[in-house]
Amino acid sequence: MTARGRDGALARRMLIGLAVVVAGIVLGMPLAIVLVEAFARGPAAYLAALADQDTLDAIRLTVLVALCSVTVTTVFGVAAAWCIARFDFRGRSLLLTVIDLPFSVSPVIAGLVQVLLFGRRGWLGPFLETYDIRIVFALPGIVLATVFVTLPFVARELIPLMQEQGAEEEEAALSLGASGWQTFWRVTLPNIRFALLTGVLLANARAMGEFGAVSVVSGHIRGATNTMPLQVEILFNDYQIEAAFAVASVLALLALVTLGLKLALERHQSGTHANEERPT
């Protein structure tokens, strides 16, 4: 027994050590090098890199794109979760698969399809040209490509939760005379708020960080259609490696904040779950 115990402790220590090494190499070092390279020329150079006009424009555009696309993703996610988790209808599982589709489609395809649909030679190209409407190489195209890749994020968080919660509370509210919207705002939304926020958070991180899809539709116009990830690539190619890493570090920071908030939300979520479970 004791021999085995000591043996077990050794194995335990080795496994923990191995896991720490794997996490350090795979997860820790990429993050570390971004920060090290960003500050390679000191904090003054770092701030100067971020204060560059094109970079500021890229930050502004990124926030704008994320705002637009996350709004669409959120409305879509709530609607999708409502109809999937609260109703049964023919084609429900097919709908579920289609909702997941953008997750497994390459981001490059998300960009390509916008060009093939809205580009000058695309399906709608002649129509858009007649009315002088610009989609690709402008804000709408970037938003559309971003929406494409982020669409499932909120729905994916909400569907399992709402299925698990069931419809009892909503039914009770309705039977007490509440309208559909009242039920949604007063009953459903409070119940799903943490999952909803988690979904929004993840969708936002993805929207701000999307590269492949946006790179195909952006046109790379400096100060106009470059998002932060594209700006990282541009600076990298402009011999401004430190500036590239400076912008990258802002995105990395965003990732860390996202993870922190997600963790906090998950704790809240399990907390409320525990509270809800007690009376039952």
Binding site: G219, R222, N237
Partner: protein, 340 residues
Amino acid sequence: MSPPLTLSRRLALSLPLAAAAIRPAMAKTRVELMNVSYDPTRELYRRLNPAFAAQPAVAAEFDVAVRMSHGGSGAQARSVIDGLDADVVTLALAHDIDAIAAAGRLAKGWQARPPDNSSPYTSTIVFLVRKGNPKKIRDWDDLVRPGIQVITPNPKTSGGARWNFLAAYAAALDKAGGNDAQARAFMKRLFQNVPVLDTGARGATLTFTRRGIGDVLLAWENEAFLAMQEDAKGGFEIVVPPASILAEPPVAVVDQVVDRRGTRKAAQAYLEFLYTPEGQEICARNFYRPRSKAVAEAFGKVFPQLTLFTIEERFGGWTRAHDTYFADGAIFDQVYQPGG
């Protein structure tokens, strides 16, 4: 091609006319031009654009801002075809602007409009090697020696890489006395020495300089000079082969865009500025060979002497060169055998 007089006459005509058109009390017209360009011109246009905006004749009429977009020449042309609203395109090779013309965005005879084949500046293809030239690379022959690692981008996506390919091919033809089969064998060996095939000229430069891969980089002369300038440690030197290609990166106004946006006048003035003494000097200072004889003489020491041949002389122009060498299944596809 066109006599230099054409330009001065154009300027003499257009600029005072432009100036005369301003009604004294009127505010200046705000114009935003978009220049869609290829990879290595980033630093060049960063300096040309403010100089253009500050030109007295321009500043008198326009409050002008120039937006830039850079990328692989083919990729940039494709974006313009798909609807990127470039007022002017300044690309790596005529074939890419031909493709935009074929898509109906600018008139087919674009290259005959501004002087000098529509190329206000030229360049050539040189070798960038590591300090001291440890592998003793002097001429095109040296690139196919076993054990030499050559960095060049992908001719399918990079304009610079196409110039690289044609310059090497011409050298191979010369060596083989015009025997095409031998020239192809030469190119096959050359590409066996290529460890990384970046999609753009700038990517290839960074692979060679920053990532320390390869013994020699085939590069635009301007790109090689810039890489030397960016490298504080002096780790590189330029080797100029005895003969190379005269690379003519063309510029053009995109008719469809300027006519719709009403920016033709400013766009034309922008391209014409490239041919002025001031524009030419900025080109030369950024290591592009100026067309102006006077500026070329002033910067004579910067640009080394070598035998330069044009694509028209050796390959019958870009359309033919593209179909023969770079189309799907053409010679590049035949000689490129990765994994060797």
